[in-house]
Symmetry: C2
Subunit: 219 residues, 2 copies
DNA sequence: CTCTTTCTTTAGTGAGTGCTACAGAAAGAA
DNA sequence: TTCTTTCTGTAGCACTCACTAAAGAAAGAG
């Protein structure tokens, strides 16, 4: 039947697909979608163009897969922080602090790939720009939902503007990515995260789940 | 002598240099340095390539002049806020609020050109990237200097970390630019500026010059 | 071995890049 | 007018872009 593990026929691929994808991802992460040429990619991945096209399709498809690899290998902290933290405030706190680390990892490009890999593009890659823009906006919308829920539950003050606070948090995250690219180090960005959280309204004690109320990272 | 107004010889230029530069600036502002081709520019400026090169030199020189035109026409609020506001806090407040307006002007590209016009570049335009990076970092350093001065003068608390607070303010500014590009409207960004200023330490009353202490824009 | 399948390599495709040589056009100076 | 100067348009430079046809190479199946 079809589920059987039939031996693969034909000449086997001479490179590791995952390793090659990782190299492509780093190139896109550092320079952005359009600024990385196919010849840059074949050099970084150490394969020839036809192998690249056979294994990954065209440049846009490779970029999309690189984005998924980035999220999977370096961006999961975002989803985890938003999913695991008991309150919106603790989620934002954890998000910003982990971003300070993630945006300054040694041996890797600075900043966040989702934020900076498709900002300067021609009209013909508008789809790529919009795909990342949608990812960013969905992130902000998700934070906004968590804030609104905490406001409704009485954890955050009733006069909290969920939309503004979510956009603010997204802006700080994106600004930290830019600052990381401009040379800010991890310690500075962690301190920036501390400062940024000062603008967040305090939680009402007792309403939050255990462990989530204002982290112990004081200034 | 040389100061004499001698009539210009030869065929006069058939287009307005300043208008053409403005169009080039908008193209660079919207799409970034490398994503705008010479043929894009000649279309936007409504001139042919040889006229472009005769009037502006090469693409890089034109971009540098476009940056200066941007600063002159749309970015002066930054320098003015930093120069005219009596205290660091009021300068930051004014900076962020005016940025909310400047980054969402109707009929113009969104966001800040200095922040977003050279983020995705190949190695061969590294100089362009570094030039804008230096501009951004000088801005942050200038804010840091004003903060440090206010700390020394007792206007801001003695335990204020000038470097962190300056990088934070720069990050918010850059994040607001990114959010503007992602679709945030002026009202939201102004509210974000209000929230961001909540993270700033309060000034000691009486130490600041007149009119500068915490603007009247309450939430 | 041969046959089939799949990968790798060479060597290109047409289109677009930044940029320019050259000839013609339009002005003032003589 | 004629000369000089400067700009404009055509046409094309060498190069790179994303992408691929075609042939050879390396595996399993028979």
């Amino acid at each position: 039947m079809w589920g059987m593990a039939t031996k693969q026929r034909g000449r086997p691929r001479s490179f590791d697909r995952e390793t090659a994808l990782e190299q492509a991802m780093k190139a896109f992460w550092e320079h952005g979608y359009e600024a990385v040429s196919i010849s840059d990619l074949t050099r970084a991945m150490d394969i020839k163009a036809p192998s690249l096209y056979a294994a990954f399709g065209d440049k846009r498809t490779l970029f999309e897969e690189a984005i998924e690899a980035y999220v999977r290998n370096y961006g999961l902290f975002t989803a985890k922080a938003l999913a695991e933290a008991p309150t919106a405030r603790s989620a934002a706190d954890r998000l910003l602090h982990e971003a300070a680390v993630a945006h300054t990892l040694p041996g890797l490009p600075r900043g966040c790939m989702i934020i900076s890999a498709a900002t300067n593009c021609t009209e013909q890659s508008a789809e790529v720009v919009e795909a990342l823009q949608e990812r960013r906006n969905k992130g902000v919308a998700f934070i906004e939902g968590r804030i609104a829920a905490d406001v409704a539950a009485g954890v955050l003050p009733a006069d909290t503007d969920a939309h503004t606070l979510a956009v603010y948090t997204g802006a700080v995250l994106q600004g930290m990515s830019q600052q990381a690219r401009d040379g800010a180090d991890r310690a500075t960005l962690e301190a920036v995260a501390d400062v940024a959280m000062q603008a967040w309204p305090r939680e009402r004690a007792g309403e939050a789940g255990p462990g989530g109320v204002t982290s112990g990272r004081g200034a």
